[in-house]
Symmetry: C2
Subunit: 336 residues, 2 copies
DNA sequence: GCCGCCTTTGCAAGCGTGTGCAAAGCTTGC
DNA sequence: GCAAGCTTTGCACACGCTTGCAAAGGCGGC
C-alpha cells in the first residue's frame, strides 16, 4: 500500500464532469456555485474520499488557520484546564491548535517557536509565565496575532488578558480579618511573574493598611512541594501566622498538608488558608480550599473571540481585558 | 504595518547573489551546497529574517511534519502528564504537535479530525479511550501512521502500546492478601475501556483463585466524583470490604476522601486502598496512595521513536508494545 | 428582438517550495 | 595536458490550491 496517495481536486473534477475551479469553489465558503454543480462535486468528493489540502490552501491564502499555544507546565491542573477550554473553543471556531511546550530549558523552545512561524500560524496564545519578551517580538514581527494571558509585556499589538490580582490580594485580607486572624502570611513562589507579584502586593498593602502583622516568603516553583517548604519556613517560626494566602492552589495544598500532617495544626481552627486558581483539587474533601477561581472559560472565550474578530479584517489594534477572579468559599477559612 | 509579508526564498537568493535553488538546498538537510554559498545564504536569511514556509515544503514533499494528538479529558492529571511527555519528545524529534480535543460530544470531533487530515498530518497518536473505531480507519485510510495508547483495536498497521493491566490486577490482590484483607472490592468506572476492564478481570480472577470474597461496582466517569459515589455504594453495605482497588487514581482519591471524611473510616487500618496511574496527587500527604505507575515517559518515548523510525522508510508494519506498570508503595495499604 | 445585467463557469496565473537533469567547475590520476 | 569523475549550481517543472478575468448563459424590460 502506498503510504500517501491523496486524491486531488482535479480527480474530483474529472469524476464530477466539471472544472477544477468548480471543485475549489464548492469548498470555499461564499464562492459562486450553482446548487447543481455543488451537488455533483460533493457527491464525487464523498465517493473518492477527498479532503481539501489545507497546506496548499494556506499557501495561496497566506493564512493557515493554525493557532499555536505556547505553554509551560502543561501538566499542571490550572494550565491543563485552560488548555482544555482553549482547544475546545478553537475547534468550534474552525481553527486548529498547535501545541508548543516550553518546559525544556534547552534550545527546544526557540526551535519549536520558529517551527510555528514556519507553519505560518495565524496567531499565538501565550499561557506561559515565561519571561522571554523576545518571543513576543518575534511573533509580532512575523505578522501573527498574539494573545498574552497573565503577562504584562508592554509591546503594543497583542491582546492582553489579566486578572485583578492586586484586588484579590486585598479582598482576602478582609476575609482573614473578619475571621479574626491577626498574623498574616503570604506564601509565594520565587518565579516573580507579574500575576504572582500582584497578589502579593495587594495582600501586603491591605494588611498594612489594616495594621495587621504580615510577612512574606518566596520559594521555588509554584507547585505542591514548594508549598510544603514554605509551610516549614513559616511554621517553625517562634511566632506562627494564623492565616496564610498562597499564591497558587498547588502551594496551598502543599502548605495545608504540611501544616496538618507534619505540624498537627488544625485548619481552619488554628490556621486559615486561601489559595488562587480554583483547581479541581481545591474542592476535594481533604482540602476544601477557599480560593479565587480563574475564569478559564471566560479567558478562553475572550481569546478566541478576539482572534475571530480580527480575522474578519477589523484591526482591533492593541487591547487588553481585565477579568475578576471570584472568591469561592469553602472550609479553609473560619466563618466570620 | 501589513499584517503578512513574509519574505521568500527568492528574496534571500537575490540578496545573497545565488539562485533560489541554492537557498532551498541550504535549508534541506543532506543537499549539496558548498560551504561558501551556504554561508552567503544563511547570512542573507538571517539579515532578512527568513523562515522556510513549511506549508509549501509540505506540499512538495507530501509530508507535513505534523503529528496530531487526539485526546479526551486533557485536563486530567494522567492525560496531561502524558501530553507533556509527548509534546516534549515530539519537539525534540523535530516534529510539531497538533492537538485535537475530543471532549465535546457534538460534531466538533469529526470536524477537527477531518481538519487534521486536511493538514496532511504524518501521524496521529490517540490517547483517548474514545471507542470510535471509525476514527482509526479514517486515519489509516489517509496514509497516516497511527499510535494507539491503551486501546485494543484490531486494525492492523498502528503501533499499539498497552500495559499489563490484567497482571496488575492480579498483583494487587497478592498485596491485599498479604495485608490480611479478606473482603475485596473493585471500584470501576462504567466507561468499559479495555484497560479498565483488564484490571478488573485480573483482580477478580486472582481473588477467586485465592478464595477471597470479591465484588465489583461500576459507575460514571473515571473521576473523583465517581470515586465518592462508589465509596457510598460499597461502604453502606451491611458487610464492608476491607480492601478496594480503584481502576484509577482519581477514583481512589474520591473513594479515600469519602471513606475518611464521610464514613470516618481509617485508611489503611480499616480499609486498604490502591489505585492506578500514579498521578501527582497520589504522592500528596493527604493520600499517600499505593498505586501502579503508568510509565508515561517510556510510553511517549516509544511512540515518538516509532514515528521516527518509520519516517526513515523502514516499514515496521504492525507492531505492539506491552509495558509493565510498577507498583509504587506508599501508605494506603498496611504492611504485611 | 435586442440590450443590459446578473449568475455561473472555465482558463490560467500564481503561491513558495523541492528536486531531476544537465551544464559547469573543480579535482585527480595518468 | 587531458580524460574521467565528483561536486556544485541553475533551470524549469511539479505540488494542490485560490481567484481575477472574461466568456457564456439566463432573464426581464423596453
Amino acid at each position: 500500500m502506498p503510504p500517501k496517495d491523496f486524491i486531488s481536486a482535479l480527480e474530483v473534477a474529472q469524476r464530477a464532469g466539471v472544472s477544477r475551479s468548480a471543485v475549489s469553489r464548492t469548498f470555499t465558503p461564499g464562492a459562486s456555485v450553482s446548487a447543481e454543480t455543488r451537488k455533483k462535486v460533493t457527491d464525487a468528493a464523498e465517493a473518492l474520499g477527498y479532503h481539501v489540502n489545507e497546506l496548499a490552501r494556506g499557501l495561496m491564502r497566506n493564512q493557515s488557520g493554525i493557532v499555536c499555544l505556547i505553554v509551560s507546565d502543561v501538566a499542571t491542573p490550572y494550565r491543563s484546564a485552560l488548555l482544555r477550554e482553549l482547544t475546545g473553543k478553537l475547534q468550534n471556531a474552525g481553527k486548529v491548535a498547535m501545541l508548543i511546550n516550553t518546559d525544556r530549558s534547552d534550545g527546544s523552545v526557540d526551535r519549536a517557536l520558529s517551527q510555528a512561524i514556519r507553519y505560518r500560524a495565524d496567531a499565538s496564545i501565550i499561557l506561559s509565565g515565561l519571561p522571554d519578551a523576545s518571543i513576543v517580538r518575534l511573533c509580532l514581527k512575523n505578522g501573527q496575532r498574539l494573545v498574552l494571558i497573565n503577562r504584562d509585556d508592554d509591546e503594543p499589538g497583542p491582546l492582553k488578558i489579566n486578572l485583578d490580582d492586586f484586588e484579590a490580594g486585598e479582598r482576602i485580607v478582609t476575609a482573614f480579618a473578619r475571621a479574626g486572624c491577626k498574623s498574616l502570611a503570604f506564601a509565594n513562589s520565587d518565579a516573580g511573574t507579574p500575576s504572582l507579584m500582584g497578589r502579593e502586593r495587594g495582600f501586603v498593602a491591605a494588611a498594612t493598611r489594616l495594621g495587621l502583622e504580615v510577612s512574606v516568603e518566596r520559594y521555588g516553583w509554584t507547585g505542591y512541594e514548594a508549598g510544603r517548604v514554605l509551610a516549614q519556613r513559616f511554621l517553625t517560626r517562634p511566632r506562627r501566622p494564623d492565616a496564610v494566602f498562597c499564591a497558587t492552589d498547588l502551594l496551598a495544598c502543599g502548605f495545608m498538608d504540611a501544616a496538618r500532617h507534619q505540624f498537627g495544626i488544625s485548619v481552619p481552627d488554628q490556621l486559615c488558608i486561601a489559595g488562587f486558581d480554583d483547581i479541581e483539587q481545591a474542592s476535594w474533601l481533604s482540602y476544601g480550599l477557599t480560593t479565587f477561581a480563574q475564569p478559564v472559560a471566560e479567558i478562553a472565550a475572550k481569546a478566541v473571540r478576539w482572534l475571530s474578530i480580527d480575522e474578519n479584517g477589523n484591526d482591533t489594534g492593541s487591547h487588553s481585558a481585565r477579568l475578576t477572579a471570584e472568591l469561592v468559599w469553602r472550609t479553609s477559612i473560619r466563618a466570620g
